[in-house]
């Protein structure tokens, strides 16, 4: 038993993720793609991938590299792959986005960039799956929270593989019948595997463990949690079955309703569990990260409500962009930002003060942050998401752009706060060790490799 150490490249994943968040939000604000252009326009695909792969994907990968070892009490498997995966993912994403810009017709040719980017991304995500999956499998029997992560990894590979298939098809490099048949119905499955199978499932699993940890709630494997896992797994299996029948050229009239319905049911159970975790907590006062996580789960519940409303009114097809916006920004991004705020402070504290703990007085983790300042940015961010969703539903684009600008500003504000935490700006005590740096490096690993 070695315990858990600082994941060396996680801060770099986080920094890259935040840059992509800012880029994606800025493009939304200037009206580069959706909602000014259609959901399926190449410009929208640039934004969607900057946010889904660049922001959420890198954020989740970085966080899982740090916290899956904590979930399963085993050291990270093959940690040296972390840098390779990061470089592949960033490089692949940039090439893919260049490919989309070519696809939009701004520049001639260049479509070959799509499959090259897709291949790099698929390779990078495979390395992530090797590291995380290898860690999870070391700890058998696999705990419930880690099983969610495992389900997420399977979906991640499905998302990346499907994306690569689309990239090949769009580039015109191949002319295969079954690839042809995949595109129309397959796009929604690609999004399903990504947003629900990969990110939401992982987020469920990590939340179960981290929320009980942060709130000091009793840890229990609840029937509702196990049912949520089974429903999600059934949804992903259903999506895979639909994918198969599409590839075989069969019509599937149910489309993604069955997988979506199953996921919605899983989300409701997750929401119920979170409520229980919050109710049974021993830590009475909520910290900013747990308040934001609660907001994110509320957004997830609203997403389910919105989904049901859209289905009942027959508007799902027209308003799918709104639903994705709420899931992406309200649920996943708000949860991610909230947890990021806590994780960065904790990792910085451990990295910088760990060596001198017990030898001299050190600040507490919460002394590294200024919650009052950060909460302003968090509330601005959440409010702007709500505004954007409201105007998307109303079908008015311009206020959505303004709200996206507000989100970008809030994200930038939070980035400054995170950088101030890394630079120990809020700590008034003496430096931990005057012989070393005044503060940890902003986002690169500490050059002093500790034995």
């Amino acid at each position: 038993m070695q315990g858990a150490s600082i994941s060396r490249w996680t801060m770099s994943y986080f920094a890259a993720a935040l840059v992509f968040l800012l880029a994606g939000q800025a493009l939304l604000a200037v009206g580069f793609g959706y909602p000014v252009k259609p959901v399926e326009a190449p410009e929208t695909l640039v934004i969607v991938h900057l946010l889904a792969v660049g922001w959420l994907g890198l954020l989740f990968c970085g966080a899982l590299l740090q916290f899956v070892p904590v979930l399963v009490s085993k050291p990270l498997h093959a940690p040296h792959l972390a840098l390779h995966a990061l470089v592949l993912l960033i490089g692949g994403l940039l090439l893919l986005c260049c490919g989309f810009i070519h696809l939009a017709g701004y520049v001639e040719g260049g479509l070959v960039l799509l499959p090259i980017g897709g291949l790099l991304l698929a390779t990078g995500f495979t390395l992530i799956a090797v590291m995380i999956g290898g860690t999870v499998l070391q700890a058998r029997p696999v705990a419930l929270s880690a099983r969610f992560v495992g389900l997420g990894l399977i979906s991640l590979l499905a998302t990346a593989g499907l994306g690569l298939a689309f990239a090949l098809e769009l580039s015109g490099l191949t002319d295969t019948g079954w690839l042809h048949a995949l595109i129309p119905g397959g796009l929604s499955l690609h999004a399903y595997f990504g947003l629900i199978g990969w990110m939401s499932a992982s987020a469920f699993g990590v939340s179960y463990r981290l929320m009980t940890m942060f709130l000091l709630s009793p840890e229990a494997e609840r029937t509702t949690s196990r049912t949520a896992l089974a429903l999600l797994a059934a949804g992903i299996a259903a999506a895979a079955a639909i994918l198969l029948s599409l590839a075989l050229g069969r019509e599937t009239s149910v489309a993604v309703h069955l997988p979506l319905g199953l996921a919605a049911a899983a989300a409701l159970l997750f929401g119920y569990d979170v409520l229980t975790i919050y109710r049974t907590r021993k830590r009475k006062s909520l910290e900013l990260n747990t308040i934001m996580s609660a907001g994110a789960v509320a957004a997830l519940m609203l997403s389910v409500l919105l989904y049901l409303t859209l289905v009942l009114t027959g508007r799902l097809q027209d308003d799918i962009g709104t639903l994705v916006y709420l899931v992406g920004f309200g649920w996943l991004s708000l949860l991610g930002l909230g947890q990021l705020y806590k994780i960065v402070a904790f990792m910085t504290w451990l990295e910088y003060y760990g060596p001198v703990l017990g030898r001299r007085p050190v600040p507490r983790v919460q002394d590294l942050v200024n919650e009052r300042r950060a909460s302003g940015w968090f509330y601005l961010y959440a409010a702007m998401v709500a505004v954007a969703v409201a105007f998307l539903l109303a079908g008015i684009a311009f206020p959505v752009q303004v709200a996206a600008l507000g989100q970008a500003i809030a994200a930038a504000g939070l980035m400054v706060e995170l950088a101030r935490t890394r630079h120990l700006c809020y700590v008034s005590t003496e430096p931990a060790d005057s012989k070393v740096r005044r503060h940890p490096p902003l986002f690169l690993p500490n050059p002093v490799e500790r034995s």
């Binding site: 070695q2 904590v70 009490s73 940890m213 830590r283 451990l350 017990g358 002093v448 034995s451």
Partner: protein, 177 residues
């Protein structure tokens, strides 16, 4: 460790023609972690054994006379795995702990700070015993790095983590600074 039993007598239920299974399952659901169930039945409740096996219980059977049986369902002991640092040397021979700390109520990472401070304060060779609410995963590498040895495991209920730390002799030399 002596197991504490909750007793359920299903003979009256059966006598009045009732179905005892829901009552048994209800009693199992209400058991505290680590608690066992003592069941009094007018016959050998064979089908129950596999059901309880799946729910994580072993059984002991005793005939009481008059055809009645007493079955004691006891929670299966999780394999008594003990975690230990790679440098942990003959923990059975460690001296009695000099300090005994209950840190289970502290918010993480406070227990880690307290334990490292205790280790600094004590003489090399002395032993700390502490109860925590969870595995101190980030503490383990720091202890080893500082030359301390440790062993630890969860208690049988799985809700507390117990750790013994033997303070190391060397300082700074292992630190690489």
């Amino acid at each position: 460790m002596a197991i504490e039993y909750k007793t359920l007598d299903v003979r009256p239920i059966l006598l009045s023609g009732g179905e005892p299974f829901p009552a048994i399952m209800g009693a199992v659901d209400d058991l505290m972690p680590g608690q066992g169930l003592k069941l009094l039945a007018p016959f050998r409740p064979q089908p129950l054994f596999s059901v309880m096996e799946r729910r994580g219980f072993d059984y002991e059977l005793e005939e009481m006379g008059g055809g009645d049986f007493e079955v004691r369902f006891l929670p299966k002991q999780p394999q008594a795995t003990v975690d230990a640092s790679v440098n942990a040397n003959a923990p059975d021979l460690w001296p009695e702990p000099s300090v005994d700390l209950d840190l289970s109520e502290l918010d993480p990472p406070e227990p880690m700070v307290r334990l490292l401070a205790e280790a600094e304060r004590l003489e090399p060779g002395e032993v700390i015993f502490a109860v925590l609410s969870r595995e101190p995963l980030f503490l383990f590498p720091e202890l080893t790095r500082r030359g301390h040895q440790w062993v630890g495991n969860f208690d049988t209920t799985g809700s507390f983590y117990r750790i013994m730390i033997r303070v190391g002799a060397t300082e700074e030399s292992s630190h690489g600074r």
